[in-house]
């Protein structure tokens, strides 16, 4: 794919993700989905990063990484199946919505306790280095997550052992109701220095900028095998989750379609570059909408997982305790 195609393709993933996002949020309001953490506003950050990844790279993602997953080739079906928790869901309907798994694209399984994906990400990077494999590890998390114990442990260890990890902090300015200014008295990217690691700040609202900076950084990681902390600043345009009401704690909403919307920013830039025009944009959007609507309706019809699946996968082999409990409950 040439550079232009690659960028248009990135934009297309952003639109697909936004379309899916809105579909799920709407479906949640209609009672068709139980819960969801919207990703609106973080599309450029994630896609810009993803555009630099290779097949063998491992990704320890967090719950808001739908754009990243879609761009990397995970099908919307996978996302929707997880959100509905139907019997096609790779996780067998076990996790609440927004906790995806996609091993076929090297995505780990998302946990809820924030940033606890980071130390395992470092361990995975150790594996790669030790086994002399190709590839790097991406570990993503929010601004709030920088306060956690796991953030500290992971960054220090990745630096100490010279491991190829890209720590992507998706600074969307909020941790539920708590603003990033109160989370810490330092800029996030500057925390890297305290670990003896490179740190960079990038405008995560701007697809092209994000693509460029991530490229520079990821190229370095591939060469020198050392970690980097990227702080990509965007904005959480939606509520924290479908259970959240941001009007309780903030007034500075960024509206969809406004100047600060990363999709609008991308469109402006791509038009300036003559990569796309209004017609192309319209086509991309219509296609995305039709695709998502169709898929969603289709996936919704898939049955729930069978009750007996509840007792699978605790261990590779079951044991008498689980067997008895299954017998008693089913």
């Amino acid at each position: 794919m040439d550079e232009k195609e690659k960028i248009i393709d990135g934009y297309r993933a952003m639109v697909l993700s936004r379309t899916l996002d809105k579909k799920i949020v709407m479906s949640q309001r209609q009672g068709r989905v139980g819960f969801y953490t919207p990703t609106m506003g973080q599309e450029a950050t994630q896609v810009g990063l993803s555009m630099n990844l290779e097949d063998q790279d491992l990704i320890f993602e967090y719950y808001r990484d739908v754009p990243l997953m879609l761009h990397r080739g995970v099908k919307p079906e996978t996302i929707i199946d997880q959100i509905i928790g139907n019997s096609d869901d790779k996780e067998k309907g076990r996790q609440m919505p927004s906790h995806y798994t996609a091993k076929d694209h090297n995505f780990m399984s998302v946990q809820s306790p924030v940033a606890t994906n980071l130390p395992p990400a470092v361990g995975a990077a150790y594996s790669i280095k030790y086994q002399k494999k190709d590839g790097i590890v991406i570990a993503t998390f929010g601004d709030g997550s920088t306060s956690t114990p796991d953030f500290h442990a992971a960054l220090n260890l990745a630096a100490v052992f010279d491991l190829p990890v890209v720590f992507l902090c998706e600074n969307n300015k909020w941790a539920i109701s708590y603003p990033v200014e109160k989370q810490t008295r330092s800029e996030i990217w500057k925390k890297a220095e305290g670990y003896g690691m490179r740190g960079v700040l990038v405008d995560g609202n701007d697809l092209l900028e994000m693509y460029k900076v991530a490229k520079e950084e990821i190229d370095k990681v591939r060469v020198d095998g050392k970690p980097v902390l990227i702080e990509a600043v965007s904005y959480r345009m939606g509520p924290h989750s479908t259970s959240d009401d941001p009007s309780k704690y903030r007034t500075d909403d960024v509206k969809e379609g406004s100047d600060k919307d990363p999709i609008v920013i991308a469109e402006r830039k791509l038009k300036m570059l003559n990569y796309i025009d209004d017609q192309a944009i319209e086509k991309i959007k219509v296609e995305a909408k039709e695709r998502i609507d169709r898929i969603f309706d289709e996936r919704e019809k898939i049955a729930a997982p069978k009750p007996e699946t509840m007792f699978e996968d605790i261990f590779e082999n079951s044991n008498w305790i689980i067997d008895e409990e299954r017998g008693e409950i089913l």
Binding site: G34, F35, G85, N86, G93, R94, Q95, M96, P97, H99, Q111, S112, P113, V114, T116, G144, S145, S147, T148, P149, D150, A175, I176, S177, Y178, K182, Q183, T184, S243, D244, K248, Y249, A304, P305, P307, T309, M310, F311, I314, I321, I322, E325, R326, E328, I329, L330
Partner: protein
């Protein structure tokens, strides 16, 4: 005596308010508890009333929330940390079991930690693996912790007031499934429910049901719908549990069924069962049965299969009835 109709959320909220007015050493801290009023709205309005210094919105670090609460409670304050979901408490586990629980002992009684750690726990809200856990056994196994869980708005108030007057750490577990599921008359004046005292919420002769928290309504409904002639004991305090009330009932009925949501292996039911098997074996007319969550992580879509329900309780009743 005046009273108000309230759910558990309202009861805890108004009790915190009541106590904060009277005991100026009480201080709340947690994620999203201030301006947002808590993700379950339990602390709604309190920051507005008592200020940002007393109802503290915290950075995202449970270890720090509990750790700071310990330090506050060591130095003249009475901290009430909130852990947003009990599932996230494990990142602060060392502070709880190695610091708070052992402070009085290790300092030879020189220091103590009068902290009330509040946290919603249990399933019933479609939270899946990480928003549904019932981890009470981890705390109940830890010497130095008092573990409390109300099952209704009235008890919530009395237990919380009492907890806020203890001089040792309390793990105050709030069954989130019941937060808004029932309303009850709650007196406006203050009252304490003693720690270590169970509540006999139903009386009968054939069975002893021992339960607590979110399973109390489930057991009560099963008992009344099926006209079971049974004692139902709501433990209210898990440590120290009320051995006397348990024994009295067991000696009367001889048939014990323990019900809880947490996984069976080493769940609270195992301790209660062992206690009975140690003290009242002669009175038993059948096995001691446990109806609990299974030893699996908590599933999202199949939540209703995970949680003990009427059918499973009746299965245990029938098993018991067929005995001998």
């Amino acid at each position: 005596m005046s009273s108000k109709t309230m759910n558990i959320v309202q009861s805890i909220n108004s009790t915190l308010d009541y106590m904060m007015t009277r005991d100026t050493s009480i201080i709340l801290l947690g994620e999203d508890i201030g301006i947002d009023g808590g993700v379950f709205r339990v602390t709604e309005g309190l920051q507005k009333k008592y200020g940002k210094e007393r109802v503290i919105d915290m950075p995202l670090v449970e270890l720090g929330i509990v750790g700071m609460a310990i330090g506050m409670s060591l130095t003249g304050l009475r901290a009430v940390p909130e852990i947003q979901f009990q599932d996230f408490i494990y990142t602060a586990f060392d502070q709880i079991v190695n610091q708070a629980a052992k402070m009085r002992y290790r300092s030879g009684g020189e220091y103590n930690v009068p902290m009330v750690l509040r946290t919603p726990y249990g399933g019933g809200i479609r939270g899946g693996l990480y928003h549904s856990q019932s981890g009470e056994a981890y705390f109940a196994h830890t010497a130095g912790l008092t573990v409390v869980t109300p099952s209704n708005p009235y008890d919530a108030k009395g237990l919380l007031i009492k907890s806020l007057r203890l001089n040792d750490p309390v793990i105050f577990l709030e069954p989130k499934k019941l937060y808004r599921s029932q309303k009850q008359e709650v007196p406006e004046e203050e009252y304490e429910i003693p720690i270590g005292k169970a509540s006999l919420v139903h009386e009968g002769n054939d069975f002893t049901f021992i339960t607590y928290g979110s399973m109390v309504p489930t057991v009560m409904n099963t008992v009344s719908k099926n006209n079971l002639d049974a004692d139902v004991i709501d433990l209210r305090t898990l440590v120290p549990y009320d051995g006397e009330t348990i024994l009295n009932s067991v000696k009367k009925t001889g048939r014990v069924i323990i019900v809880h949501e947490a996984p069976r292996t080493l769940g609270m039911g195992s301790e209660i069962s062992a206690f009975i098997a140690e003290r009242a074996i002669d009175y038993l007319l059948g096995p001691i049965l446990r109806v609990t969550g299974p030893d699996t992580p908590f599933p999202y879509r199949l939540e209703e299969h995970y949680l003990p329900n009427e059918m499973r309780i009746l299965k245990a009743v029938h098993k018991m009835q067929q005995y001998r």
